[in-house]
Symmetry: C2
Subunit: 252 residues, 2 copies
Amino acid sequence: MTGSLSIIGIGPGREDLVTPQVRAAIDRATDVVGYIPYVERIAARPGLTLHPSDNRVELDRSRHALDMAMQGRHVVVVSSGDPGVFAMAAAVFEAVEAGPADWRRLPIEVLPGITAMLAASAACGAPLGHDFCAINLSDNLKPWAIIEKRLRLAAEADFAMAFYNPRSKSRPEGFARALDVLKDACGDARPMIFARNVTRPDQTIRVVPLPDTTPDMADMRTLVILGSSTTRLITRPDGAAPWIYTPRSVPA
Amino acid sequence: MTGSLSIIGIGPGREDLVTPQVRAAIDRATDVVGYIPYVERIAARPGLTLHPSDNRVELDRSRHALDMAMQGRHVVVVSSGDPGVFAMAAAVFEAVEAGPADWRRLPIEVLPGITAMLAASAACGAPLGHDFCAINLSDNLKPWAIIEKRLRLAAEADFAMAFYNPRSKSRPEGFARALDVLKDACGDARPMIFARNVTRPDQTIRVVPLPDTTPDMADMRTLVILGSSTTRLITRPDGAAPWIYTPRSVPA
């Protein structure tokens, strides 16, 4: 009996952003493994066992999923957004590499999803319309010095930047430090976008010039985008939110 | 009569990667505007007019779409992948900013899609599982010096990198120069992934150590990913393709 493992992304929140490919994988699954709020998005049905688990147990969760697949189950590991962007796919492959040789025989597939930065970008225009980078601001798994170095080099490269996990209760000071570095490294008033609960009914999009940003503007439900030096704001009449975009060209 | 403009992404190729949100926008549209091969992916039906156009006319195409929306049409501007990543969204907003003030009153929405780098990443594991950047290697719209600077800074930041538009018939030498810069700046044998026609029936994924890469390995249908210094290859038995992933953590 051959099991399987599908590492899927269910997008940032709206149900009509779940791809049909991912929907079909859920329909085939016997077991769904993942962080509690993501597993809660999967509808219960006969024949499907839900295995919600807490945050910060990604490797245990991965091993559990791999074990069940070895036993012939059809296991789905669920992430929000895209599973390959600061999500479960890397954790599963870390577990595979360190695990029993037999795990390498399993059929493992990764099914992409709409990652939060692209939904946030779409919600306000096209701020990632030119070269950009994506940085996880959590220092759970990397030293702060690496984060600061990357922020400074990204500013020097004039990338637009998308920031995941900007701020948590356990690390309230990290985002303040990141903002200080960015204000120093960029030295201008380019827009920063705070997209909270993006694509959900309670979505909020706030656009603030970088010098006016404060750490409390982000929490763990916020995806933050910082424009490049060329990013533009298009004002609109009648109090409508501005559109923000980064042009495709860089003058010589 | 109020028209509308939806800038949509139809993903990299597989039809089951088109989100239901995008499918609904296509179903509502009266007009579809876009580059010929992308418009060809939209099914003809009564009441829908298709407006395919050639490459490199993005601003003309945008103005045409905006004009039609002003006339009350429900216009869809189609991109492959995600419309906000090296695609039509930035072009439309460039046209809006330079165009008549009335265009700013239009309801314009951007609907995200699965961008090629995330589909390519999923096809081979999770090479973008940690901090990464996305760079358009085309020098149509920016000087080569900017590209080289960004490649060197991205290597110094130790980002994984995704490259769009690596090589075209009109610019055969650009990718060769990019490879020279990357080999020099990285100085190791990290894997480069050449994902051609990703998610299509004729998809090919080729993984080559950076020092062994040659310019002919990419064309305009190839999405190229370069790992970071920490990216890992998991070998598999019986000739199966390796899995490639970038771990979530960076040691202190």
